[in-house]
């Protein structure tokens, strides 16, 4: 079976500083992978490279065997990569319902969208997402007026509506209360299996709740990879977090 996402020797050079430096990993279909690493390890940059926000200087990204390295963002998105940003990124002047409606993006061309309304199947999918994210009570509220947690769920809901095959989540619980974090974990766990997820997260309690396999990055490189329990015992990982500098 072809892996959902293959990262092969990926590298980016910011004028001499290599934020991601020869990173490789393989994420299988339906897997939920958590990426850990101290500040500056290159986790967010890795997501930028996968989603096309930043152009890599070496290496390859393959989505279900298809090369998508350094394509324009919208093409990578059309290929099946969905991305959630650290700071919630939703359409603030549109209602929640309209946000989800825009996320039905399987037909992205201008002229094909010159029509009112959408297909029944798309509407049904939106209903499912509304149910999953619990946004029913705020459907007609403009997204800019939502609480922080609701905004994050809306963005998650948009990625699901988009039918992204691989979803990149950058700190989905940042700034959330305990209850909100727990609900987010529930949503993410329900996506496992049907979607392939790559999650960057700092909240260890949250990571323990959702993680199976964990990838640890340090100085732009792969440091360790394996089941959560094993990773927590790994001396190299401990050193990296404690900053002993003994990893290189």
């Amino acid at each position: 079976m072809v892996a959902a996402l293959t990262i092969d020797g990926l590298e980016v050079d910011f004028g001499g500083f290599k934020a991601v430096n020869g990173m490789s990993t393989v994420i299988n279909r339906g897997e939920l992978r958590v990426v850990l690493g101290p500040n500056g390890a290159g986790k967010t940059t890795l997501m930028d490279l996968i989603s096309g926000k930043t152009a890599s200087t070496a290496g390859e990204v393959r989505l279900f065997g298809r090369e998508i390295t350094n394509r324009p963002e919208h093409q990578i998105a059309r290929a099946g990569v969905g991305r959630k940003f650290q700071i919630p990124s939703v359409f603030r002047d549109l209602t929640v319902r309209d946000n989800l409606s825009v996320a039905v993006s399987h037909e992205p061309r201008v002229f094909r969208n010159l029509r009112l309304g959408m297909a029944a199947a798309d509407r049904a999918r939106i209903e499912e997402v509304i149910e999953l994210t619990g946004l029913e009570p705020v459907l007609d509220v403009v997204a800019g007026d939502l609480s922080h947690g609701q905004m994050q769920w809306l963005e998650l809901g948009m990625l699901i509506t988009q039918q992204a095959k691989v979803i990149l989540l950058d700190e989905p619980t940042a700034g959330m209360t305990q209850a909100e974090t727990s609900k987010t974990a529930d949503i993410i766990l329900r996506l496992k299996g049907s979607h392939t997820l790559l999650v960057v997260e700092h909240d260890m309690a949250f990571v323990r709740k959702i993680a199976e396999r964990v990838t640890v990055m340090h100085m732009g490189k792969l440091l360790a990879e394996g089941p959560m329990a094993k990773i927590e015992q790994d001396p190299a990982v401990r050193d990296a977090y404690l900053g002993s500098g003994g990893v290189q």
Partner: protein, 382 residues
């Protein structure tokens, strides 16, 4: 889940009222002088719609809309100039614009092909249909090229305003400079009447008023449909957060180019209608102040409402015409409109349309909670 609709929250009522008034006006207003004036203001209303489309819905502040208006105006004016009585009086078989004679080298043949350098450009305009078609085609082509360059490079915000502002100035200079072809600073005056199927449209006829009136109604409904489509909704999403739209798979530039170009086409069409009603085209159409006026009309009327922007343009110009004929206001008028603009921007960012909506909300709370439509006065359904 609600089906998408062209109209919601009963704002179709405003549209019906607007269309009824615009089409019914000649029944009550018998003064053809005023009717002709109103026709010009309806043309300005179309410009308001064009601005609302690009500024309100796409978030693109075009400070050079006069470029497209001017191009449209010149294209049809060239055809109408050749139909003018004076153009037939220059001693040649075929019509030649009078100003070309004044600009001709001594001994140059009195023929459109070669009387001045570049006069051959006028040749196809002997067909009125060519001028009318070009009035829309040329602005659309220019807008397509310009906006493709701008939006592919992801230029946004104030930089778009600066580029469009500079461009309209540049083209204005070119037109003034090309005196032998354009009559320079004087513009094209003394035009013939629009003639369709042997019927002449004297600007002071009710039928000419109706050409403009029906046009604005059609443009209004067509743009309303356009922003209600999924493409219109996606366009609004690119205004709010272009990156999010990109990561959903939309080519943001394609949407911006499309709507920018439609807006330019409307402005070109408006330029054509203006020439038909006003009987001249002049480089003043490409003045900065005119392009900025359009933005002011749209802001006062409500930039995120197509009909609001149209009403804003019509109202301001009607009041201006009345006020500037009152001696007391003649000098002060520009100041007054400036103050109104500042007040609207500070206290009524959604303009008259927003005000109307808030008032309607007060009286019709049961229908609409009011909280749902903060930023859009005429938000389309999905």
């Amino acid at each position: 889940m609600s089906q998408s609709k062209l109209f919601k929250y009963g704002d179709w009522g405003i549209y019906v009222l607007f269309i009824v008034i615009v089409l019914g006006l000649p029944l009550v207003m018998t003064d053809v002088f005023w009717l002709n004036r109103i026709a010009k203001y309806l043309v300005y209303g179309m410009l308001g719609i064009a601005i609302a489309l690009s500024w309100g819905y796409a978030g693109i502040l075009n400070l050079g809309q006069g470029l497209f208006f001017g191009l449209g105006a010149y294209m049809v004016a060239m055809s109408l100039k050749l139909q003018s009585y004076t153009s037939l009086q220059q001693g040649s078989e075929n019509p030649v614009p009078d100003f070309m004679l004044w600009n001709a080298e001594p001994g140059a043949p009195t023929e459109l092909c070669c009387i001045t350098s570049g006069s051959w450009l006028w040749l196809p305009f002997q067909a009125q249909g060519f001028g009318m078609a070009m009035a829309i085609i040329l602005p659309v082509i220019v807008a397509l090229i310009l906006s493709s360059a701008i939006f592919r490079l992801r230029v946004s915000g104030v930089y778009v305003a600066i580029i469009t502002l500079a461009l309209v100035l540049l083209v204005r200079l070119l037109i003034i400079d090309a005196q032998p072809v354009t009559n320079g600073f004087n513009g094209l005056t003394d035009l013939g009447w629009l003639t369709i199927g042997g019927v002449e449209f004297d600007p002071y006829l009710v039928s000419t008023y109706y050409i403009v009136a029906v046009s604005i109604c059609v443009v209004l409904l067509a743009t309303r449909w356009l922003v209600s489509t999924r493409a219109g909704l996606i366009l609004q999403s690119t205004r709010d957060d272009p990156n999010r739209s990109r990561y959903l798979g939309y080519d943001v530039a394609a949407y911006q180019v499309f709507f920018f170009t439609v807006s330019a086409g409307i402005a070109g069409f408006a330029g054509m209608l203006y020439v038909i009603a006003a009987e001249f085209a002049s480089p003043s159409f490409l003045d900065i102040s005119f392009s900025i006026s359009m933005v002011v009309w749209a802001a006062v009327g409500g930039r995120s409402s197509l009909i609001g922007a149209a009403i804003g343009a019509i109202l301001i110009n009607t009041i201006e015409a009345t006020a500037s004929e009152t001696e007391m206001f003649q000098e002060a008028w520009k100041l007054i409109i400036g103050v109104i603009f500042v007040l609207v921007v500070l206290y009524m960012p959604r303009g008259l349309a927003g005000l109307a909506e808030d008032l309607a909300g007060l009286f019709g709370k049961s229908r609409d909670s009011g909280r749902t439509r903060r930023a859009q006065s005429s938000a389309p359904a999905e």
